[in-house]
Assembly symmetry: C2
Homo-oligomer: 128 residues x 2
Amino acid sequence: MLDDALGRHVLAELFGCKAEMLNNADAIRDAMVAAARSAGAEVVGEFFHRFSPHGVSGVVVISESHLTIHTWPEHGYAAADVFTCGSRVDPWVACKHLVSALGATTMTATEARRGVFSPNQARSDVAT
Amino acid sequence: MLDDALGRHVLAELFGCKAEMLNNADAIRDAMVAAARSAGAEVVGEFFHRFSPHGVSGVVVISESHLTIHTWPEHGYAAADVFTCGSRVDPWVACKHLVSALGATTMTATEARRGVFSPNQARSDVAT
């Protein structure tokens, strides 16, 4: 439910993931792009980086905002974010895809509403 | 303060920004990279995209995690995130840089702690 927010932002903590998966940048990229598409998002770009000695960071920019991930293979942990705007794409669908793809045993997550305007921050107060 | 968290994640709402700035992908990229460096972060990659008719989305991946931004020039609003791990880089320094660079009149922000392990999610329970 968007209410009057411009976007929904899910911060997901994925525990008990497969360590070998979390250390494989190509596999993480594939999982993130697939997660975006599973939710019906349109991918416009991505960047992934594998760190030495371990860990992957990456982002998928979508028309509806973004997905990011940072992995700690040594802890079986990944911090994933799914930020979507509009009502067509459900960020939780992408999160659930990631849980499955990374083999997470536990996910804890919160949803933040982004772009909520108070009466004195009227959306129309800036001309373009 | 990191306590026992792996990372700090600031979700910043920037209101009253300059519309022309929010619609300029090159200017947003420069501001984001400069914000990362102002906090002492190491930039490892970036991707920015300008949407039609307006708005910019982009990310800077840093050794310490990431910065992202999505702009709504028509509302003078940007949603910015600064996620850092380790104790060397302060995400609030980058946020303050963005407030200045985007000419925001108001910032509201929250900090989430990422990668906090409960006793039954011991960090050492996955071998690499």
